[in-house]
Amino acid sequence: MNANHDDALIRIRGLSTVLNGKTIFNGVDLDIPRGRITAIMGPSGTGKTTLMRHITGQLAPDAGEVIVDGKNVWTLGRDALFDLREKIGYLFQNSALLTDFSVFENIAFPLRQHLRLPEELLRNIVLTKLQAVGLRGAADLMPSELSGGMMRRVALARAIVRDPMLIIYDEPFVGLDPIALNQILKLIRTLNETLGVTSILVAHELAAVSRVADHIHLLAAGKIAAYGTPEELSRGETPWTRQFFSGEADGPVPFHYPAPDYAQQLGLAGGEA
């Protein structure tokens, strides 16, 4: 399944994870090609965010290896891991802005921590990134004064401020209005095309993802259930893709959380009545 891309930025082999007694991954093999936009999709709770945490060295898998840019993430020391993370931009699901700092200082934070830039240059970089997400006017606001969608855009600006080689977008479209959504999609595309950034997109929104992603990995039941371009997957040739792309309740992915028999629980069945 990985024959068609030879230059993978991320190689995952035999990844297995058990969290709180629940098997999240059961031998996942996955390649993320360099310079492309790869989407990771799947039903809620299949561990898409957990997978990102394995890739960035935040959470140790139980087995398997994660190679990012030629380095095995789980054998790196702290300094080497931090060096690697400096080249990764990560957009958190809930933005995770530093609440003590203004929007401007939030975006300036990674620059101030790692580089000694003249204030003038730093200001220009931050304002450029803010302009890209349409929030240059909000530079002096505090995170508590922003709406959820605005926070997400600030977090996006922060994730790209150091021009990383890899950007991980964890649910970037949640809470965005159609205008912002369109601009963010364009921005993801532009970053990818002009800077050759590798992007990983974790999302549910099929329509949005299909517009930007080069490849989609469909994650379900601890495995890669399907892999291909958006067009290939939307043809729905396997039960997984058919169910996921048409949004049906019936199929290999159960819509219902495991539960006892419905009628029995309501006291309607069992023959005693």
Partner: protein, 256 residues
């Protein structure tokens, strides 16, 4: 077997907590050299846990001193020893009450806010975000607060002592009519800088380390829920108080 295991489970859980706290202390100490980069953050925290605690420390110090003055005056007058009031007040404040009460107040005022702040940072992924920006939260968040506690606590205890002596002076001299010169000269003659004053400073330095260690540990390891942060804040006060009093006994036994 399982009954015994269940009966012992609170004990083992407690031991596990203490062990985890010990590891957290080692991580904090290891992060200290790296946190020197964030000197401004440390200064900010000294202001936050130190200067911002001044009002409560000074008010309580004054009242504790006034109560001490009143109680000891009556006790000492039984033996006709009211002249020793200044000495007795100063010794009890410097050696015991100053460091201990300051630490208890510190746990309530600064410890809780450290726990809640770090706990909410945990709950809103801010600590993870720092990690992902290659900034170590142990060096940027925990170590500066730890240092600030160690710096601020002895200073607060000294302020507490000064206000306490002032309070006792108000009661003993201005109200109950003790001679001003007797009050001060007896005190200066019988209080030793090294044995009493510095002794107390050592104690409060240790309390500063322990209280901020507990506060940062509870905040850092809190479950990321509102209930988790609430419990962690409570635990900070409870554990800090117990630790302060227990360590006080041990240190008194050794420093006596």
């Amino acid at each position: 077997m399982s009954v015994a295991a269940r009966a012992l489970s609170p004990l083992t859980a407690g031991l596990a907590q203490i062990g985890a706290c010990g590891i957290f202390l080692l991580q904090t100490l290891r992060a200290l050299p790296r946190s020197l980069r964030y000197l401004r953050e440390t200064v900010r925290q000294v202001f936050f846990v130190g200067a911002m605690s001044l009002v409560i420390i000074m008010t309580c110090g004054l009242f504790v001193g006034m109560v001490l003055g009143l109680q000891l005056y009556h006790t000492l007058s039984i033996f006709g020893g009211t002249a020793a009031l200044g000495t007795v007040v100063a010794l009890s404040l410097y050696r015991e009450l100053g460091p201990v009460v300051t630490a208890l107040l510190f746990a309530g005022r600064a410890g809780t806010s450290i726990t809640a702040e770090i706990g909410l940072m945990r709950a809103t992924d801010q600590l993870d975000a720092m990690e992902m920006m290659a900034v170590d939260p142990m060096a940027y968040v925990v170590a500066p607060r730890f240092l600030a506690g160690i710096i601020a606590m002895p200073l607060l205890a000294c302020t507490f002592n000064a206000l306490g002596i002032l309070g006792a002076h108000l009661v003993g001299v201005a109200w109950l009519g003790l001679d001003n010169g007797t009050f001060w000269s007896n005190m200066t003659a019988n209080v030793d800088v090294w044995d009493d004053v510095i002794n107390g400073v050592w104690k409060s330095t240790a309390f500063g380390a322990v209280c901020t260690l507990i506060a940062t540990f509870q905040g850092y390891t809190t479950p990321p829920t509102s209930e988790g942060v609430a419990y962690a804040t409570t635990r900070t006060v409870v554990f800090s108080s117990i630790a302060t009093l227990a360590i006080d006994f041990v240190m008194t036994a050794f420093l006596m």
